[in-house]
């Protein structure tokens, strides 16, 4: 067997290199030239709507799909023609794929069948793996007598017992209810930190990806639209599509104004908000003068109460068009004077802070640093 123990690379070095990976299903172009590096020891997520090719890419890395073009390099080795049982990857399947005719311990120990360990060592390894996922006493249980969360843990223990270089997780939390999902998210992060193995997670849930990942590749229609750490992805989405997919964002029409040379800033005139200047670094290739669009997150806009003033006088006024009260938060849809559509503003409810009424006039403070220009 080619599977060796533990990660051989220092943390941060590329363990998987994807070079122009293509996949066709007949005429359907499922992967359109995916290039990326996945670093050893990181928690990497493939995020996108269904049909974007994220699962196909994961299965191609595992060896279940032959690719039509490009190269997948795993730990420096070209994986072309290497079957799944000879790749140093293990997978947690969406359905968990727990073998129903075996006990929990037999499931977890399945991958050790071909190892040279003595049966005593194997038993100890299984016990350790079960302990690691918090199922220490469940070894003798029949596999079909487990709950969803327990199945998930068995699948994890079974995949991790071989100490793969990369653990592949195909929507592992989608079958769990909301509470269990949140518990497992935290447990997966802890587990990943503990074992130090590279995790690649496929998910369509942007929140899940933000919570768990070191880096996220957002995929649309067989291509990576953006690959960044969660914070950059959230604060600086590089396209309207990514911005719409991750969290909530307001879009406002803007005009890019001509600026003098070497300003390091881009001057804008934003509908409803007024003139703004943003860092030129946001548009490495430069921004075209003329019509454009900016995005701003609901939490980056602040309702000003009587007597409050905005820093630098960046204020805008509008009318409250909708009030959605969530207890801890209130969402307002405010139609700014001069804007074509209302913007959503989220405000934390605090003692002494009155909830605005429908139809009331409101003043907003805004900050150009929280503004994204789609250039």
């Amino acid at each position: 067997m080619s599977q060796t123990n533990g990660p051989t690379l220092a943390k941060g070095q590329p363990i998987i290199t994807l070079e122009g990976v293509q996949k066709y299903y007949g005429d359907y172009h499922a992967l359109r030239g995916i290039s990326a590096e996945i670093r050893a020891g990181e928690f990497f997520s493939l995020l996108g709507p269904s049909g974007c090719g994220k699962t196909t890419l994961l299965r191609a890395i595992a060896g279940f799909e032959d690719i039509s073009g490009g190269v997948i390099r795993l730990d420096g080795r070209d994986m072309e023609g290497v079957p799944p049982n000879r790749r140093p990857t293990n997978m947690v399947f969406q359905s968990y794929a727990i073998f129903p005719h075996m006990s929990v311990a037999e499931n977890v120990g399945f991958g050790l069948r071909r190892s040279s360990m003595s049966s005593d060592e194997k038993r100890r390894a299984v016990a350790e793996a079960l302990e690691m996922v918090g199922l220490g006493k469940f070894g003798a249980r029949a596999a079909h007598a487990l709950s969803g969360g327990q199945r998930q843990r068995v699948a994890l223990a079974r995949a991790l017992i071989l100490k793969p270089k990369v653990l592949l997780l195909d929507e592992p939390l989608s079958a769990l209810d909301k509470k269990m999902r949140e518990v497992m998210q935290v447990e997966l992060i802890k587990l990943q930190r503990e074992v130090g193995i590279t995790f690649i997670l496929v998910t369509h849930d942007q929140e899940e990806a933000l919570v768990m990942s070191d880096r996220i590749a957002v995929m649309f229609e067989g291509e990576i639209a953006q690959l960044d750490d969660p914070e950059t992805l959230y604060r600086r989405p590089n396209s309207r599509r990514v911005a719409e997919f991750i969290g909530m964002m307001n879009f406002l029409p803007a005009r890019v104004l001509p600026t003098g040379p070497g300003g390091g800033r881009i001057a804008l005139e934003v509908a409803g908000l007024g003139p703004a200047e943003i860092e030129a670094a946001q548009c490495p290739n430069g921004a075209n003068v003329g019509e454009a669009e900016i995005g701003v997150r609901p939490e980056s806009l602040t309702v000003l109460y009587e007597g409050q003033g905005a820093e630098g006088g960046r204020e805008a006024e509008g009318t409250v068009k909708e009030v959605v009260y969530y207890g801890d938060m209130t969402y307002y849809d405010i139609l700014l004077d001069g804007a074509p559509a209302p913007v959503r503003v989220s405000m934390r409810n605090m003692p002494g802070r009155r909830v605005l009424d429908y139809g009331a006039r409101a003043r907003l403070a805004w900050d150009p640093r929280a503004m994204v220009l789609f250039c």
Binding site: M1, P83, M91, F93, A97, F99, P100, H101, R114, H144
Partner: protein, 268 residues
């Protein structure tokens, strides 16, 4: 229970369906050669007569050989076809599977006559092996139907998981696929056995001078004195068939339970 028109209908329906079969054991134990009421008293002599009829033993042996061979061949063919139909996509898949399933609805007389003509044209003798061929033809669709259920109930990622954990495709088949479809295989064997054992038309056309059990039974009906013996034999056959079908269904359900699945309506 209230006596609504529907319960009356259901009662009548069951009566018409099963009363004739209930007559079988009734007259099998009746001490008289005439099949008529009133009953004449209890006897086991008809069953005893079964024991010293050499022709019957030969027919039974023929039937067993045919039924066992048929169930094995049909199940093996069904296994291949069912796996291919559930796991792979290939051109004209629907048409091919449809053609294989066709004997399920094809009149058996047609199948029997065509087989006879083919054999005669080839100048071959009909006999046990030709009945096995005919029975395999009509049993394979049943085997496919049962095994397709077993395969499609099985999560495909189970096999992938085994390969992912280091097993080869062959050891995966042995360790994962086979244990999970075994109940289906057993159910298929039992049902094909039962169908072959009871089958009359093909056996009648092709048996030549080696009759199977149903063909032998039919021949005995010409002698009124033998009628109670036929009844006794019929009784045994009915009990055997029911037992085998119950057994087959038990295995099918056990398979579902083992795979942790809900019963979605059996084959029977």
């Amino acid at each position: 229970m209230k006596l609504t028109p529907l319960t009356v209908f259901a009662g009548l329906y069951l009566l018409v369906l099963y009363a004739p079969i209930a007559l079988l054991p009734l007259f099998a134990f009746n001490d008289g050669t005439v099949i008529a009421f009133p009953l004449q008293g209890f006897t086991l002599q008809w069953f005893a007569a079964l024991l010293d009829t050499p022709a019957l033993h030969e027919a039974t042996l023929n039937s067993l050989i045919i039924a066992v061979s048929t169930s094995v061949f049909a199940t093996i063919l069904g296994l291949f076809a069912a796996r291919a139909a559930t796991r792979y996509n290939f051109p004209a898949k629907g048409g091919i599977v449809g053609f294989i399933m066709l004997p399920l609805v094809l009149p058996e007389v047609i199948v029997a006559i065509s087989l006879l003509i083919v054999l005669m044209q080839l100048g071959l003798d009909s006999g046990t092996w030709s009945i096995i061929a005919g029975h395999t033809l009509i049993c394979t669709p049943f085997a496919i139907a049962i095994l397709q259920g077993s395969f499609s109930n099985m999560d495909r990622s189970l096999e992938e998981a085994a390969v992912d954990l280091g097993e080869t495709p062959w050891s995966t088949f042995r360790l994962i696929t086979l244990p999970l479809v075994t109940p289906g295989i057993i159910a298929s064997l039992l049902i094909c056995f039962t169908i072959s054992l009871d089958e009359f038309i093909i056996a009648f056309f092709l048996s030549g001078n080696e009759p199977t059990l149903p063909v032998y039974l039919w021949g005995q009906l010409r002698f009124p004195a033998r009628l109670p013996v036929v009844m006794a034999l019929g009784t045994i056959l009915v009990i055997l068939s029911v037992l085998l079908l119950v057994l087959a269904e038990t295995f099918r359900r056990r398979g579902l339970k083992r795979a942790g699945l809900k019963d979605t309506g059996g084959f029977l």
